[in-house]
Point group: C2
Chain length 681, copies 2
């Protein structure tokens, strides 16, 4: 539909939608940077969605049963900010729009979760939003099945662009959604045929409609500027048992001189362009000026859901007090009181039994105890269930015929899994964990970074965490991944040494409020090194003295995960020769860094030589080897210096020289002539 | 087709295919680890392919015009190893098969490029092979268009499993291939309905045939055990102008007790299972025993292409000597002699002109000079051409109507681009580079790791390399990515400070034989700091003294990229106060680490305080701050401590305290009372 027809047939709608368009082009112009084309192109679709379909109450943005609106094409952030301002979200003031993309404003270049109410997730890296939305929709299905329609019954709407749909993650997302038959997931594709390089046809000829159908979706088409057609499409979408993709045919930069060109995508229209556009719109108002009658209409839209919300509130308060407090706990992301005692009991038992097991099995053991007391836990794996040990007997499989199940077969979709986990967590009421091999962190990185940036406490269960994976070889053996994860801001990287540390790591992951966790777990069996039960969670300090030196302390061996066993054996060798050696287990560097300097110095005092043992690369270890008053001349590293190899794990440890003997030799070399046998030996 | 029918109708074929099956199950059993199910299921398809279609000559595995066979489902490595052994590849001895997955063998758990001839690429991480294959097929199209059918005219065959097709990267790969109409690319899908977790239907209901059609592919189906049907499908595939996907309906673990179950996927059949399978096959031979007549048939297949190869050789030697030597240079990946002089001339000019420009623009300038003298360069971008500055005027666009073009619009497909670049490089004759924002390294990591692991000298042009990106905000601002790339083994990470260093970095990237390069380039303008022309490539040493201290050397400021400007300004401030300050530019840590200790100590002598300035996180910097005889107490870091923010770049630098003033203050704080004004000032 062209502008003239639209204005003639639907003048009120046109005015409302043009309020979005005007604010968007004005804000981008004021910032002298940003993306006007998409908000101008999708304003009609968004207007109909907010006016006629989206269940929300601008005065109560945290209402748990609101529909979710996700702007996967995050560069069109002004679309979202305009909508939030117009419908009356309190914090989205006109001043904020005027400060679009400026320091300290809540109107960042791309929507940032936590900056403002109504931003359901951080988007901008393309494809993430649509993949988050799959998690949102799964959360909704799960909570509805388990707590009833009274409590949870809403849609998840997404606006996605060509960029989102070209990204690989979109394939994983729509495949998962199709299989899961997420009927309440509705994706509106901004089909404007333009990408940054020019016509989409320069790089893609995909028939998106056929593609979505192939993945098990309903596909509906509409003229993305015709409000009646949009309304019809949305109505049809809402009645489907399958997820729906609405192909909205639109014009990027609708009405501007740059309409239908890549030029409209990512730069301001310029004063002349804006002037010309205002004339085309018949919009005589100044920059950021919205006539009161149009604002009133929008504010009425923002209040449209108030009655619904009040009814929901009544339904909620009609629930039993126990149910109410349980749901409140879930939505607030508070761990249940029982978690701490469950973990403590398990730790005590393990310290007594001292099992020899792989930490991936330890993790399974912990989950077997924890999942029954944490209904918010939804587990899964990217098709490595038996290897990641992520499925416990009580969970049941989440699928279209069993929505009460709490385990997701994510398929071979690491990136999609991670993004869906972000969505599950962001929805509220769910605490997701999911597994793959640590090496395939590489595939999931895009979404893992957003876990960190948004601060959502998801847990990545990353098994087969070193050359200890063995025969699968270097393609499957992480050597740099622990370092890479440690390099990521706001990610707790746990590499537990045994079952006790694994239980402690899980406790920390499951009580985290704003930091995601990665558990790096072994394929191979490890002995229990924490054979003396401690009530306290020692892993919470990040690093601690696992074995004190006997006699004069001449050396400190630092290690994580599977190499703690090697450190302890090296200590035995050294003590047998009279060299007092402390072993420091460092399951989580990030938490150790958070300790005060006094504690850090207590654990790593100046003086003794220091050797670190880790079956990964050295990158980052210098912090502990030279830092904290250590000295380069008195420190050494036992670990990997490049990629691994294909062979049984014990041979690889020998081959790469990651052994107790090599560690002890390194210590003695560093001590040089400076060590004397303990007089007692 | 069931085994009984197959044996009856096609006894000779069955025997040949069963040789593969037997070797595969025997090798996995001997290793007590591995994946027998896929080789057993796809043996019939592979047998027909090698017997009737694949153009190859086992005695000349490096023949540049051979068809390429890529096992994207790399866990089925025994299929490939068996084929290479049976057809007579010299290095793939029976002994190697017996040492499957053992240390020092060339038969790693997953096929490793470089271990044996006939392994065209490293596979195992799912989806990589099919995405590499797109690069192989593009290389073939490009070379054929530019050097003629006489020289290059071959197919690229891929075997891909459900895992490959579920991965997001497969979406990017098939989208790119469909748009590019790569008619000589043929993917054989091992449609066995099984993944590790069980039935594929547990996690996916995608109609793969419809999906490929939607992406512009021809789709053919066949019974993956019926040799006539397979032959028909392959014949049909070869005559298409579109890429073809052949859906091969197969039984995983064909003939074994575990047939059609996930149990056949990833573990040995066990002695009883193997015995039972041998009985089903009517295969009375011992482990690793291939009857001579069957081996002879296979060896004849291996020699089938000898005449073709000889004819190709004749055609090649009929070319002009210049053409022959040029092609030989391309295939050997040698840079042209003219490159060095081109770079030197450009450097001289730049040092004189001293332009102020963004290093992404510097990179474009270098490419403008280099691309005309390097026909092997094929550039591209993941839909950020104008931002990455990767397109130079001489290249032309590579697309179905212009195969001579040397620039690829990869679309919004970072992962697919990186994997295609690996394929382009592995094919031979091409040196690819491709761009995106540094932040989206996250999306490409899976393939970038394989560039490093395989040692293919591709170049990643990663622009907008810090908070200097500005208003797009934290989702687009890398802070940890340079550290992550540095953590990766065998990756040269260049962060050039100006146009001269950018030219030097490009020279190193374009002459690299076995190491990929990442160029981290700025969005924002930078001054030329290398105003004094040096013939020598100083970046080749990784780090060097850019500005020497005047007077007593009391401080060393280390910096990379855009922060070198800040370091130089900080030095000016300090020198003005009489504090002798050296500035060390460190464009490539990896190359600096390769220098001898004497050089490293010369650049970073003990004594002066050290401050590092980089608009990224500190992770990894301790190596240079405390190491190399530095002291923790006398060192400091100016940089990022977490994620960025959305605002104009200059404000962000101020906000995060990455300024010359802050750097100078840090130096003075470290010097404490220990610095005295230079007596001369």
């Amino acid at each position: 539909m062209d502008i003239a027809t639209l204005k003639e047939l639907h003048p009120d709608h046109f005015a409302r939608a043009t309020a979005i368009r005007a604010l968007s082009m004005d804000a981008v112009q004021a910032a002298n940077s940003g993306h006007p084309g998409m908000p101008m192109g999708m304003a009609d679709v968004a207007t109909v969605l907010f006016e006629k379909h989206l269940k929300f109450d601008a005065a109560n943005p945290d209402w748990p049963d609101r529909d979710r609106f996700i702007l996967s094409a995050g560069h069109g952030s002004m679309l979202l900010y305009s909508l939030l301002h117009l419908t009356g979200y309190e914090d989205m003031t006109l001043e904020q729009l005027k400060n679009f993309r400026q320091l300290g404003s809540i109107t960042a270049g791309h929507p940032e979760y936590g900056h403002a109410k109504g931003i359901e997730t951080t988007t901008g890296p393309l494809g993430q939003g649509i993949a988050n939305a799959v998690g949102f929709a799964m959360a909704e299905e799960s909570l509805r099945a388990r707590y009833g329609k009274k409590v949870c019954d809403h849609y998840t709407y997404v606006i996605a662009g060509d960029g989102c749909l070209m990204e690989g993650i979109s394939h994983e997302a729509i495949g998962l959604a199709g299989m899961q038959k997420l009927g309440k997931l509705i994706v509106m594709w901004d089909d404007n045929s333009i990408s940054i390089d020019g016509d989409v046809g320069l790089s893609d000829i995909t028939d998106q409609k056929k593609r979505f159908q192939a993945a098990g979706w309903q596909v509906v088409e509409c003229d993305g500027h015709d409000p009646e057609d949009i309304d019809r499409a949305l109505t049809q979408a809402k009645s489907s048992k399958k997820p729906t993709m609405i192909a909205c045919k639109t014009h990027i930069g609708f009405g501007s001189p740059k309409q239908d060109t890549a030029g409209a995508h990512g730069s301001p229209l310029g004063p002349d362009g804006i002037k010309a556009t205002r004339e085309v719109y018949g919009w005589p108002y100044g920059p950021f000026e919205i006539p009161q009658n149009i604002l009133d209409e929008w504010r009425a839209i923002g209040a449209r859901g108030a009655a619904d919300r009040a009814e929901w509130s009544d339904r909620f308060t009609s629930l039993s007090p126990n149910r109410q407090s349980e749901l409140t706990r879930l939505w607030q992301g508070e761990a249940p009181k029982k978690l701490a005692s469950t973990i403590r009991k398990l730790k005590k038992q393990i310290s007594e039994d001292a099992p020899k097991m792989a930490t991936r099995k330890s993790s399974e053991l912990v989950l077997e105890h924890v999942n029954p007391v944490m209904p918010e836990n939804i587990g899964g794996s990217a098709d490595l269930t038996g290897s990641n040990n992520t499925l416990t007997p009580d969970l049941g499989i989440f699928n279209p015929s069993n929505r009460k199940g709490r385990y997701v077969h994510y398929g071979i979709r690491e990136h999609g899994m991670a993004a869906a986990m972000n969505g599950l967590a962001l929805h509220g009421g769910i605490r997701p964990y999911g597994g793959t091999f640590l090496c395939f962190t590489d595939y999931a990185r895009g979404a893992m970074r957003l876990s960190s940036l948004m601060g959502v406490p998801v847990t990545y269960v990353m098994t087969h965490d070193s050359i200890g994976l063995g025969e699968d070889g270097p393609t499957h053996q992480p050597v740099e991944h622990v370092a890479m994860l440690r390099a990521s801001p706001n990610m707790n990287v746990f590499r537990p040494a045994d079952t006790v540390e694994t239980a402690e790591a899980w406790e920390l992951a499951l009580t985290s409020k704003n930091t995601p966790s990665t558990l790096a777990l072994t394929r191979q069996n490890l002995p229990t090194v924490r054979t003396e039960h401690k009530m306290r969670n020692l892993t919470a300090q990040g690093a601690y003295v696992l074995r004190e030196a006997e006699g004069k302390r001449q050396a400190i061996i630092m290690a994580t995960g599977s190499e703690v066993e090697i450190a302890v054996k090296a200590r035995d060798l050294l003590q047998a020769q009279g060299i007092g050696t402390r072993v420091v287990s460092m399951p989580c560097w990030e938490l150790f860094e958070e300790q005060d300097e006094a504690y850090r110095r207590k654990v790593l005092p100046a003086g003794p030589v220091r050797v670190a043992v880790e079956a990964g690369i050295r990158f980052g270890w210098d912090r502990w080897l030279f830092g904290e008053r250590g000295k380069r001349e008195k420190s050494g590293f036992i670990g990997m210096h490049g990629f691994g190899a294909s062979a049984p794990a014990p041979e690889l440890y020998e081959h790469f020289g990651i052994t107790a003997e090599a560690t002890a030799t390194k210590v003695k070399d560093l001590l040089g002539g400076n060590w004397a046998p303990d007089p007692r030996t």
